[in-house]
Symmetry: C2
Subunit: 143 residues, 2 copies
DNA sequence: TGAATAGAAGATAAAAAAGTCCTGTAAGTT
DNA sequence: AACTTACAGGACTTTTTTATCTTCTATTCA
């Protein structure tokens, strides 16, 4: 469904938000240990998200990645579109290049409803909310 | 969502079923022209589907791919699982390796419902039915 | 100011997916 | 039987994705 990069990105941001809630920053090593992801690859992904302003970062001792207290909620869809783009919500399910309402591919309508519910789910899901569940031990990012 | 191989595979089988309904066979060249797909690559995919018995094939003049008249319906899910496997329905949305009901990943339940509707849709959709829509000009496989 | 820390950036490498090519083999045609 | 057609199968190439390595720059703290 999502690319590896996107999976790592989502997991990393969840962890960063969780750490940020106690006013701390998360270093790349620490992040990758907690989400079980390859370090240099995840660093690249976070550099990207940092450049886009989805997370913040500072260098130097006690530096790392963080989100500002009181910043507006990060939605799952923000991360997904930042990393994987919007082809999951806009592209044709069968890869037919002219697929549209007027010239639908054979599964156009069936797919549309599923993609729509996916999009709505990703728009509704807040990373801040997930991070709270993580802190409560209700959900898990690794073994 | 699906791999390119899967997209070509689905489109090819739809076309094959459509041609088969008039008792004819579809050659690989003819198929690829009608579904706008790369020929050798699509040939590989159909070899696979042929080996699995999802479509039939014969060599020689007037040979090609076909499905037998009166054969049971080919469901979309048969093709998808044959080519892409079942990771789309079983794997964790965030790639968390221990994701389960007891140790759910942060979007486990949200994802489950979407994957479930996807699975149901793919199970309900019959290629024979789609092929009829194609014949009627209701849906399209290329420009 | 200088040493240590930690992210940024660019080049590079490995693996997987997508796509091609060539030779073989089966089936129909004459 | 010889010839032609068209799928089968294996080797190979290209592209994309995933992952790593090295150097550079900014920040903190003594």
């Amino acid at each position: 469904m999502f690319s590896k990069a996107c999976e790592y990105g989502i997991r990393a941001v969840i962890y960063i938000v969780s750490v940020s809630s106690s006013g701390k920053k998360a270093g790349i090593k620490d992040i990758c240990k907690h989400i079980k992801a390859p370090e240099p690859f995840t660093a690249k992904i976070l550099q990207n998200l940092s450049r886009l302003g989805i997370v913040k970062s500072t260098k130097g001792p006690h530096g790392g990645f963080y989100v500002e207290e009181g910043a507006h909620d990060i939605r799952l869809i923000d991360i997904v579109t930042a990393i994987d783009g919007d082809k999951l919500f806009t592209g044709c399910g069968l890869g037919v290049d002219v697929c549209s309402e007027k010239k639908p591919c054979p599964i156009h309508n069936e797919f549309k409803s599923i993609r729509e519910s996916l999009r709505i789910m990703l728009e509704k899901t807040s990373i801040q909310h997930i991070a709270k569940d993580l802190d409560k031990g209700l959900v898990f990012l690794k073994t």
